[in-house]
């Protein structure tokens, strides 16, 4: 069971990130005021992801990955996104901060994932699952993208807790 979760949690996270992407984009476009800002928020995410990626790659002790904290961090960001709708004046500033944090965490996660044995197996599964998931979601009417984003945030938090428990068990 321990081995199964070790294999499947990263798959759940990767698939979830791709599936949530369209909803996340809708939300980001809604809060971005202008296309320029939307594009810049994306650029900030990308630069931060490069940074996160290199942080993991440059780590001396790669076994100490803190990946449960990364899952939790990403989950908290998505949960925050789902709950900051009433702050319109400070919203763009918050969005920028969240984009940077999310980019950093996702970059770090990806760098970690590429070093796992299951990475190549996941790549194929992840494409297939995303395809089927998107077909399924096309039948769900979106009330608001933040509902999905919040649910995904919760799921990531659960993954974080699960991973934490798994790591504890492994160390015993």
């Amino acid at each position: 069971m321990n081995d199964k979760t070790r294999r499947f949690l990263p798959l759940v996270v990767t698939v979830g990130q791709v599936v949530i992407f369209p909803y996340y984009i809708i939300w980001l476009k809604q809060v971005s005021l202008t296309f320029t800002l939307f594009a810049w928020f994306f650029a900030a995410f990308s630069f931060a992801a490069a940074w996160g990626y290199r942080i993991f790659q440059s780590k001396k002790n790669k076994n100490q990955s803190f990946i449960c904290l990364i899952y939790l961090g990403m989950g908290v960001v998505y949960l925050l996104i789902g709950n900051i709708k009433n702050l319109s004046e400070v919203l763009p500033y918050m969005v920028l901060l969240l984009q940077v944090i999310l980019g950093l965490l996702q970059g770090y996660f990806r760098a970690w994932h590429t070093e796992q044995d299951t990475y190549h197996l996941h790549a194929v599964h992840h494409y297939l699952i995303v395809g089927f998931a998107m077909i399924a979601f096309s039948f769900v009417t979106i009330i608001s993208p933040v509902v999905f984003i919040t649910v995904f945030g919760l799921l990531l938090c659960l993954c974080g807790v699960w991973e934490f428990i798994r790591e504890r068990k492994e160390s015993i």
């Binding site: 005021l33 810049w40 630069f47 940074w51 440059s58 500033y93 920028l96």
Partner: protein
């Protein structure tokens, strides 16, 4: 290449880039305006309505046809400029809205006669840009240049100028599309006196297509600032008008708890006999800092006192600076941005005769709180400007020489909050009327019909 892979380098890129983005996040975040697909609102976002059709004005014949068609179909037509009016003046539910913004050409500029003929959808900003190379400036505008000419004349706006009378009086000629669908050229000696009704007529008497405005020189002024007690102001101001040294003027009254309605500062633009040779129009300056300062003031209590102290410091720092007429007519506006869900910031303007000012202010103290920190209804700023007696327009707010108190206020949008704000503003209006004053019509209509009739008996 190795550098690019260093985490510290990538981290620095992220921090620098995020700082650049942060600095470029627009301050103005409100979404308002004309929309066919969703609800139409004006600047405040209050009073959303669905309209039947939005017509973009680009040619006179089309406009004429649309007006005639609407008459035949019994439809209501409204006219919209930049929609900075705040009471839903620019649209009717299920009506046709004529969007004048694209009707914005400069048609003719006569350097020697000092006149400009311009289409009504143009902004003051565009007119100022056209005038600049000729060393010319407008006679009367609002304090900011963000409005259309048609929208401004339709409210007969006023600003900092204290020499040229009302805005309506600076118009020599006008082309008007009448409610019957006729296009006519109107001059000041027109026997039907269309100008009297159209200026300050809120688009109810036809569509202004273009106007010929009188101009003056883009003089260089020296700024002179002073701090006063409220009770000293009427005599100070009367002297200022009589001495003929000052071209433009405005003042602010404290709404901070510790100096509430007792302290004032004034800003005068005094003649220098010099003209501007630098030929530039200033852009919005210090917007982020001004917004932070205003946001502090919005908190009320001690922070509002701090905001007032900062304002006084600032006016001392600009004393003796030089500024052109054009630049004195284009103050910053973006820093006033306020978009908080569930709350709204609006303007109201009350006019009182110059001689009644001191007693009036004493009475206003009974209506609004010195410290509104914990109240829903808050007053953030009161600016004072002069509105010279206007014998020209029918719906005139300046029946004699008046001081206009522009009030920036904030309240919640729940039913009971609006009711509370309405009752305070109605009391304030009553006091204004008791002192022989009136109130300005472009803003949200808190007042009763009775108060409207008392203010505008010619209606």
């Amino acid at each position: 290449m190795d550098l690019v892979k260093k985490p510290w380098f990538l981290g620095s890129v992220v921090v620098i880039f995020a700082a650049v983005v942060l600095w470029n996040i627009p301050i103005e975040k409100r979404k308002y305006g004309l929309s066919q697909s969703s609800l139409v609102t004006d600047y405040t976002g209050l009073l959303p309505e669905r309209v039947e059709r939005i017509v973009v004005a680009d040619n006179r014949d089309d406009l004429q046809r649309i007006v005639k068609q609407a008459n035949d179909n019994g439809q209501q037509i409204s006219v919209a400029g930049l929609q900075h009016s705040q009471g839903g003046h620019t649209y009717y539910k299920d009506g046709v809205v004529v969007d004048m913004r694209s009707f914005n050409r400069i048609l003719e500029l006569d350097e020697h006669q000092k006149t400009i003929r311009v289409e009504a959808g143009a902004t003051w900003e565009a007119v100022q840009e056209a005038l600049l190379p000729y060393g010319l400036a407008l006679k009367v505008t609002q304090s900011q240049s963000i409005f259309t000419i048609g929208g401004s004349l339709s409210v007969n706006a006023h600003g900092r100028d204290i020499r040229f009378g009302s805005m309506a009086e600076t118009v020599k000629e006008m082309t008007l599309l009448t409610p019957a669908g006729e296009i006519m050229n109107v001059t000041r000696d027109d026997p039907d006196e269309w100008m009297k009704y159209v200026f300050g007529g809120y688009g109810l008497f036809g569509v202004i297509l273009d106007v010929t405005l009188e101009l003056t020189d883009n003089d260089l002024y020296v700024i002179q600032t002073e701090k006063l007690k409220t009770s000293e102001y009427p005599s100070y101001f009367t002297q200022l008008v009589n001495q003929q040294q000052t071209a433009m003027h405005y003042a602010r009254v404290s709404v901070a708890p510790s100096s509430f309605l007792n302290e004032m500062y004034v800003i005068n633009y005094n003649y220098t006999d010099k003209q501007d040779h630098k030929n530039f129009l200033k852009k919005e300056q210090g917007v982020r800092l001004s917004k932070i300062a205003l946001d502090l003031g919005r908190q009320g209590g001690a922070l509002e006192d701090l905001f007032w102290t900062m304002q006084k410091r600032y006016i001392t720092s600009i004393n003796n600076q030089e500024i052109t007429r054009n630049n004195a007519m284009r103050s910053e506006s973006t820093f006033m941005e306020y978009t908080k869900p569930g709350r709204v910031e609006v303007l109201q303007e009350f006019f009182v005769p110059v001689h009644a000012y001191t007693e009036y202010i004493e009475d206003v103290k009974q209506v609004i709180q010195a410290n509104d920190k914990h109240d829903d209804f808050k007053v953030h700023n009161i600016t004072i400007r002069y509105a010279a007696k206007d014998n020209f327009t029918t719906l005139n707010y300046a029946k004699e020489d008046m001081l206009g108190l522009v009030v920036l206020m904030q309240h919640g949008v729940k039913e009971e909050e609006v009711t509370n704000a309405t009752s305070i503003i109605q009391r304030w209006t009553d006091i204004t009327l008791e002192h022989g004053g009136t109130y300005y019509l472009p803003y949200y209509r808190y007042q009763t019909k009775e108060q409207f009739r008392r203010s505008y008996p010619a209606w």
